[in-house]
């Protein structure tokens, strides 16, 4: 199914992000694997998602959770074999689930054979595949990203006795895209996976591909040229495939990665995410409206990717200092929850396990413009473990049931790649898939219904958005519209009941049909449309001419 079909499929996708390692362990070695993932595809199909984004599963020393790749065309032995991957891919496609894999173009592991060759001698043909210097003072304008760990973007190589450039960890040397051989090699990597049948790539750390003197070595025209060439080759040889950009920038900057529809198909809308949390905590729609007003129009074939939480810390790079302080104070008062410029927590703990706020945020996720991404476990309200190092606290094993190791693995608990969450509030005995499947009122059941609603209309995935401006700022209301179809979404961002009057004169004569219950609401007339809403309540209405 995945090879053909709609070239804009990514617009209608509901993406589920997971790490193979964390999902299901089939061979009881304490680490999730592809055969385990295959066992859980029925669950994902039932949930209603139609695309999976897999975090890196390639051979790697795992010093950065797989983002330090040492072989781009193989599977890490922990997760199975290439055959296992192909089986998984076919099984997913059989269930109409597309597969997006991660690709780190910017750098490799220092254990990658390319780098080992490059450092072996200055004359080695691979030498120029990386960025070398006799000093550590070049490109002084470039910022250091992992401030908590690194002090320079240059690292000393004792073998070739020179410095190599690394924008991330020092064990992740940057590739040199000024060398055409590097581009060709990475295109070969992409072809390898495309030929197997993957549907798209999430390309990591895109802004940093090229370095130039006198610049911050970010978002350079040369980087865009490289992306355009990848895209040209992709469209030519592999139609209906998708490229997703990871560029943690303001919308006006990241939109340049759409080009004129000739670079990325999708890009993350990073600044919207913290502002959704901010709006709910502030009980004021202002942060969301402001950032959406700053979001430029993008080419018709392009789409934003939006999310609440992911495998990284909740990034606060694209907020003001005042906003960052507020987010820390409200969502990460305990400083152990903070990492780099962000908050390393999952969705449910972020909102104090308040089911109503979890639901409200998910309604925003599913109804705002863009393709939503659900981070594994958030559909059941999984917790985190802030006492684990780095971002590992939000990468703990999936909680399938209340039994041994949460149903994730039959291994001895000590052997698990990470301890399961076991505290009384978020522990697997309390929060797990099996128990939530049994209750129609569970978060999981509610999420399934929400996804159903999202999929019931392409207005959510492809329609325009117009924000209403009711005088009650605790209410966020918008009209999603595509052709004749119109959907009104109303969200009470506050913890208290609210009344709101909506100016819906343009839709006079239509009847709002509530999408969850299909109940009819009073016909829209000349007067402002009065609604009363409970705490954190949301409604989506199809506006119908009846």
């Amino acid at each position: 199914m995945a090879a053909g079909g709609d070239s804009l499929w990514y617009k209608d996708a509901i993406i589920y992000q997971l790490h193979v390692r964390a999902f299901c362990d089939s061979n009881n070695d304490g680490i999730g694997d592809f055969p385990g993932l295959v066992q859980k595809l029925d669950y994902l199909q039932e949930l209603g998602i139609n695309a999976l984004w897999l975090m890196p599963f390639f051979p790697s020393p795992l010093r950065d959770d797989g983002y330090d790749i040492s072989d781009y065309t193989a599977i890490h032995q922990h997760y199975g074999s290439l055959e296992n991957f192909k089986t998984f891919l076919n099984a997913a496609h059989d269930r109409s689930i597309r597969i997006i894999i991660e690709l780190v173009l910017n750098h490799t592991s220092d254990q990658h054979p390319w780098f080992k060759e490059a450092q072996s001698s200055r004359e080695n043909p691979k030498r120029n595949w990386y960025v070398w210097s006799e000093t550590d003072t070049r490109y002084p304008e470039a910022s250091i990203i992992f401030l908590d760990t690194e002090t320079s973007n240059w690292a000393w190589d004792p073998i070739s006795k020179s410095y190599y450039w690394h924008r991330f960890f020092s064990h992740q040397p940057d590739l040199n895209y000024d060398n055409p051989a590097v581009f060709d090699a990475m295109w070969d990597v992409m072809k390898f996976w495309l030929n197997i049948g993957v549907d798209g790539f999430r390309l990591d750390a895109i802004p940093f591909l090229v370095e130039r003197d006198g610049t911050r070595c970010e978002n350079l025209p040369e980087t865009h040229a490289i992306v355009r060439e990848f895209r040209r080759r992709l469209d030519e040889a592999y139609p209906n495939k998708m490229l997703l950009a990871e560029a943690n920038l303001w919308p006006a900057d990241v939109s340049s990665y759409f080009g004129v529809g000739d670079e990325f198909h999708m890009a993350f809308h990073f600044p919207l995410m913290p502002r959704m949390f901010m709006a709910v905590q502030l009980e004021d729609r202002k942060p969301i409206i402001e950032i959406m007003e700053q979001t430029p129009r993008i080419p018709a074939t392009c789409q934003w990717c939006i999310f609440l939480r992911n495998h990284d810390e909740l990034t606060l790079a694209t907020v003001t200092d005042i906003e960052r302080d507020y987010m820390y104070d409200e969502y990460a008062r305990d400083t152990t929850m903070r990492l780099n410029l962000g908050i390393r927590r999952r969705l449910a703990p972020m909102v104090d396990n308040d089911r109503r706020r979890v639901q409200l945020l998910n309604v925003l996720l599913m109804s705002m413009p863009g393709t939503p991404i659900i981070y594994y476990g958030d559909e059941i309200g999984m917790g985190d473990n802030v006492y684990l190092h780095d971002r590992n606290g939000v990468r703990t094993p999936m909680q399938w049931n209340g039994g041994w190791n949460a149903g994730f693995s039959g291994a001895d608990p000590e052997r698990l790649y990470s301890p399961v969450i076991s505290n009384p509030v978020y522990g697997y005995q309390a929060i797990n898939v099996e128990s939530q499947k049994r209750s129609p009122h569970s978060l999981l059941s509610w999420m399934k219904r929400l996804i159903e609603i999202r999929k019931s209309s392409r207005v959510f995935s492809r329609g325009s958005i117009e924000f209403l401006q009711p005088s009650n700022h605790r209410v966020l209301a918008y009209i999603r519209e595509s052709g004749e179809e119109k959907i009104l979404v109303v969200n009470n961002l506050s913890a208290s009941s609210q009344a709101v009057e909506l100016n819906l004169q343009r839709y006079k004569g239509t009847v709002p049909v509530e999408m969850a219950s299909r109940n009819l609401f009073p016909r829209i007339g000349d007067l402002p449309y009065l609604m009363t809403m409970g705490p954190y309540q949301s409604f989506a209405f199809r506006l119908r001419r009846l």
């Binding site: 901010m278 502030l282 009980e283 004021d284 729609r285 202002k286 942060p287 003001t320 005042i322 906003e323 507020y326 009711p470 005088s471 009650n472 700022h473 605790r474 506050s494 208290s496 609210q498 009344a499 709101v500 009057e501």
Partner: protein, 428 residues
């Protein structure tokens, strides 16, 4: 329409209620009473928004304009006021929406009506801290507004009085009457009892809203003074905060003095009466905490029309003889007549006589010896005499000497407090 007080028929308009409903609960409310201030109110709004952005970016805030029936589109100017680009050079911004709502006085226009509407709004919105700002105050900065809000919002103060840098001949009603007399009687000294700018807590606001005296003329004329006196007499936590230079209103005139004396003295006397159970038990006085710099006097040369002041003092003393006889003790009255008859270059209205006069006026007010408004108006020429004497004596005095004179007067009021008690109880 909604009744917001169980004791009286005070109603809020439906449109105003709708606006309040939209705003919901707030942390901070700044009220701007207005009457034909279309040309100046934008600046006040700008200063308030800047204060919110700089000092309270996280708080839920609202700016409330209560208009007294302007005919110059003041409300429209209020709603359309834009922050100038220069006003926010650091790109600071509030995290939340800064709400603006406007309404007209619910009842017959009056200062009391406008203030009561603000209190009602603050109560309904459950505002933790409020400030009232004049729409014409050109000296007001964002820092001033923050200074008025901060003590109530963050430091648990209930009433926040302003302190200013004033000219030594400015603010004389406060220094010769309101401050020393209220300090002596209630035991707490607030220098600027009557001010167009002040802050208060929701606790004090609700307390005032639930008082029965809203129809009292004293409250209608000078609700600010009434609130301040209510705060110091009822043991609310009070403080003073320095706001910088106080500019003199350009429209200052003789009529203003009459109105100021009528409004403020009525509020003072009314409070002395209503709180007699409280103050009669008190002795001595204690300072009210001051936040920031202390008040300050400046001494640049100014022209004062003393001659007219003396004429009005003399004509008042002779024209109001019958009324003054009713109010004052014979000895006091005779002493005042003697002062009025002095050579203009030697007039001395001593502190002792002034204190005795005011205590006798307060007692007469209490005993209702005549119409209370007439009684207070009769004080105006005597106040002019006292000020004439002060200006004559202190024409060349330094700010320090004038400050010492004020303190002497305060002590005189405290020293003679038993005299007030004696007069107060004389007919009971």
């Amino acid at each position: 329409m909604a009744v917001i007080s169980s004791t009286e028929d005070f109603l809020l308009a439906d449109d105003f209620l709708r606006q309040l409903m939209s705003v919901g609960e707030v942390d901070l409310l700044v009220g701007i009473p207005s009457l034909n201030n279309a040309t100046t109110i934008s600046r006040a709004v700008e200063m308030i928004e800047q204060a919110f952005q700089e000092s309270f970016p996280r708080d839920r805030v609202v700016i409330l304009n209560v208009d007294d029936g302007s005919r110059d589109s003041t409300s429209e100017a209020f709603l359309s006021a834009m922050l100038s680009k220069n006003s926010n050079p650091w790109g600071l911004t509030s995290l939340r929406t800064i709400h603006r709502i406007t309404t007209s006085c619910s009842n017959a226009p009056s200062q009391g009506g406008a203030f009561r509407t603000m209190l009602a709004a603050a109560d309904l919105l459950r505002a933790k801290a409020c400030a009232v700002i004049s729409p014409v105050a050109s000296n007001l900065t964002p820092a001033c507004i923050s200074a008025l809000l901060y003590p109530a919002a963050r430091e648990n103060f209930d009433y926040v009085a302003p302190l200013y840098r004033r000219h030594r001949f400015d603010g004389l009603l406060a220094r010769h009457l309101l401050y020393p007399m209220s300090r002596a009687i209630f035991g707490k000294g607030i220098r600027e009892l009557h001010s167009e700018e002040f802050g208060f807590s929701c606790r004090l606001g609700s307390h005032c809203l639930n008082q029965n005296g809203w129809r009292d003329e004293a409250v209608q004329f000078s609700p600010e003074t009434w609130m301040a006196l209510g705060a110091i007499s009822s043991d609310f936590r009070c403080c003073q905060t320095f706001l910088g230079q106080k500019t003199r209103p350009v429209t200052s005139s003789g009529t203003d003095i009459v109105a100021a004396v009528r409004g403020n003295v009525a509020a003072l006397f009314s409070c002395i009466e209503s709180q007699q159970v409280v103050w009669m038990e008190r002795t001595g006085s204690e300072p009210v905490p001051t936040i920031g710099s202390d008040h300050d006097l400046t001494s640049e040369p100014v022209r004062v029309n003393r001659k007219r002041m003396l004429e009005m003092f003399r004509s008042g003393v002779s024209g109001l003889t019958t009324i003054l006889e009713t109010i004052l003790e014979p000895g006091t009255h005779a002493e005042i007549q003697r002062i009025a008859a002095m050579d203009g270059r030697r007039v001395t209205f001593a502190a002792e006589v002034w204190v005795r006069t005011l205590y006798e006026f307060a007692a007469a007010y209490h005993h209702s010896v005549l119409n209370r408004d007439h009684l207070i108006q009769a004080l105006v020429p005597l106040y002019r005499g006292r000020i004439y004497s002060f200006l004559l004596e202190h024409h060349d005095s330094s700010p320090e000497e004038i400050e010492a004179d004020t303190e002497t007067l305060c002590l005189e009021f405290e020293h003679r407090r038993p005299y007030l008690l004696e007069k107060w109880k004389a007919r009971e």
